[in-house]
């Protein structure tokens, strides 16, 4: 046995006395809290800066009128509309495909080589850079399938871009449905497909939708994938069909901020457009986060 005195001596030698250990812990916790604070401040500062600079530009005219005077005055209505079209198109492509993939992976698939391949494929797709998605959209939809630069090509590109996010969200929601629900249904003689369609999917749907909304926000805010596939610098008319080009909020910001001879003069317009985009995207995300918190609390099982 080592007595207490000796132990203290050893502790001191290794510089491991209790007060010192706690002081070290305090320093570390301080660093950890600081890093969390920096993140919150980065988000808060950015949003505050954009809101305080952009609010002045926002008016009813700004949101409902097209740009005038070579885009140095007027509103951004065509860009808002274009972003809505593209986002709806992306959801129409990505949501059903994503949900079907997730149902197969959680309800039908057994461990095996093919399943592993699909999962690796999904993860790789999630990691494809957005500009490469843009090249893919250009090379495949615009050029190879001859859609031209259009809402259709842009929606398909964005839809496949957000599909991995939706698959992930849907898988999680489907896994959260208790196994007993499925067993009870199967025990009543209901077929597997009907169990999925009538029991599993309805219970998972709120989770799937809120999870997917985060992907939808991404579709609304992406720029690089639509630069070569859908977005136009300026359109005189609103799009008439899915084969028309559109203006879009993210691309409009990029154009106003980097191209042309009136970059400084149109700063207020730029901040206004950024504010509208942020309000749209973060608004969508925030609603999803709040609904999700509510659904989690209300869970019936």
């Amino acid at each position: 046995m080592i007595d207490r005195k000796e132990m203290n001596a050893i502790d001191k030698k290794q510089n491991k006395s209790l007060p010192w250990r706690y002081r070290r812990q305090k320093i570390f916790f301080g660093a950890v809290k600081l890093s969390a604070l920096i993140i919150v401040l980065a988000l808060g500062g950015l949003v505050f800066y954009v809101v305080s600079n952009g609010l002045g530009a926002i008016s009813w005219e700004f949101i409902t009128r097209p740009p005038t005077d070579a885009m140095t005055k007027g509103g951004i209505m065509p860009a808002i509309l274009g972003t809505l079209y593209l986002t709806i198109g992306a959801v129409a492509v990505g949501l059903p495909l994503g949900i079907i993939s997730a149902v197969f992976l959680t309800e039908y698939a057994r461990q095996g080589k093919v399943i592993r391949l699909i999962k690796v494929g999904i993860n790789c797709l999630a990691g494809v850079p957005s500009v490469v998605f843009g090249l893919f959209g250009l090379g495949f939809f615009v050029v190879f399938l001859e859609f031209g630069s259009s809402i259709l090509a842009g929606s398909l590109t964005l839809g496949f871009l957000i599909m991995p996010t939706i698959i992930g969200a849907a898988e999680e929601a489907l896994k959260a449905v208790p196994q007993t629900f499925r067993e009870a249904s199967l025990a009543l003689g209901v077929s597997k497909w009907q169990t999925i369609f009538r029991i599993v999917l309805p219970n998972a749907l709120p989770g799937i939708l809120t999870g997917s909304i985060l992907g939808i926000g991404r579709a609304a805010g992406e720029t690089a994938p639509i630069m070569f596939t859908a977005a136009a610098f300026f359109t005189a008319k609103l799009p008439g069909s899915i084969f028309d080009e559109v203006m879009a909020l993210p691309y409009h910001i990029y154009v106003l901020a980097t191209a042309g001879t009136h970059i400084e003069e149109t700063r207020p317009l730029q901040f206004g457009t950024v504010l509208v985009l942020i309000a749209l995207v973060l608004g969508i995300d925030l609603i999803a986060i709040i609904i999700r918190g509510y659904v989690r609390k209300q869970k019936r099982w």
Partner: protein
């Protein structure tokens, strides 16, 4: 049609649809190679990747993307340097230390940060950070490596933080309890027990964060400055690969050499991110098999 036949049919239909991700991945490769490979009839692969001169519109044009690759690597490296401590430490705070209410706020903030459109961050870097940096450090331009790295780090932090947090959360409770029972403080438990146990998950998080940063387009397009030359200091402008593709594709005539060279740059970028993803995939797969069964 009997019931079991119908079930089988439905299962096959679902299976075919779930292959779509793999098919799309294949189509991406197909499109990139179809449009990009013809450039290698004019320049060798070696000259393309290690060529020092990127003058795509000169006569004769020169397609050497080495400065672009270096631009991507340098910006990603510094972004990682900033994002890893922030991401990992915030993940530790969320999963091990923070009280419930702060945890919820922090997680939501990180999710919102992940949702910020890249063009907005690029705009912020251009309009706010660049003039400030130019004035404060008396630089020729505020659009440079440091600025791009800081903004990219903001984009990579949510990826790193959320994946690292999942990994930390998955560390079995017993590990921590055993450590406390031996008299370890919370810090000692975190550093010597929790972090090592979650190490492969944290590595995955870092690799995916880097992959996100190297492929990010709008930020480097708007903030990195756009000089296609090897940088000499961290306050020099660079032209990372995604920026070059996005900036020049609009002007490159259809199926010209320039157009093909940009697609070929896309191939290089795609392969680099795929390597990152496959490493992450490999690391996290190993981690999944050993996490709770390693006792």
């Amino acid at each position: 049609m009997s019931r079991s036949q119908k079930e089988k049919l439905i299962k096959s239909v679902f299976f075919i649809f779930s292959l779509i991700s793999v098919i799309i991945l294949g189509l991406i490769v197909f499109s990139l190679f179809r449009e990009g490979l013809p450039i290698f009839k004019k320049t060798s692969v070696y000259d393309f990747i290690f060529g020092m001169e990127w003058y795509p519109t000169a006569d004769p044009p020169l397609f050497g993307i080495f400065p672009l690759i270096v631009g991507s690597v340098v910006v990603t490296f510094f972004a990682t340097l900033i994002a890893v401590p922030l991401g990992v430490l915030s993940a530790v705070y969320i999963s091990e230390i923070a009280p419930r209410a702060i945890k919820e706020i922090l997680k939501s903030s990180i999710e919102l940060l992940a949702g910020l459109p890249s063009v907005v961050l690029g705009f912020f870097g251009m309009v706010v950070v660049a003039p400030w940096m130019q004035e404060t450090f008396d630089l020729p331009t505020g659009l440079n490596i440091v600025n791009a790295a800081v903004i990219l780090a903001i984009m990579a932090v949510p990826t790193i933080s959320s994946i690292a947090e999942d990994a930390l959360y998955a560390v079995p409770r017993e590990f921590k309890e055993a450590s406390y029972a031996l008299g370890a403080t919370k810090l000692e438990t975190i550093i010597q027990v929790v972090l090592p146990a979650a190490l492969s998950g944290i590595l995955t998080a870092i690799i995916l964060g880097m992959s996100r940063a190297i492929g990010e387009t709008m930020v480097v397009l708007m903030v990195a400055g756009g000089a296609a030359a090897l940088p000499e200091s961290i306050f020099d402008s660079v032209r990372p690969m995604p920026a070059s593709i996005a900036a020049e594709m609009g002007e490159a005539p259809y199926r010209s050499l320039h157009y093909q060279a940009l697609f070929a740059t896309g191939i290089v970028l795609f392969l680099m991110t795929m390597i990152f993803n496959l490493i992450a995939e490999h690391v996290s797969h190993k981690f999944r098999q050993t996490a709770s069964g390693s006792l």
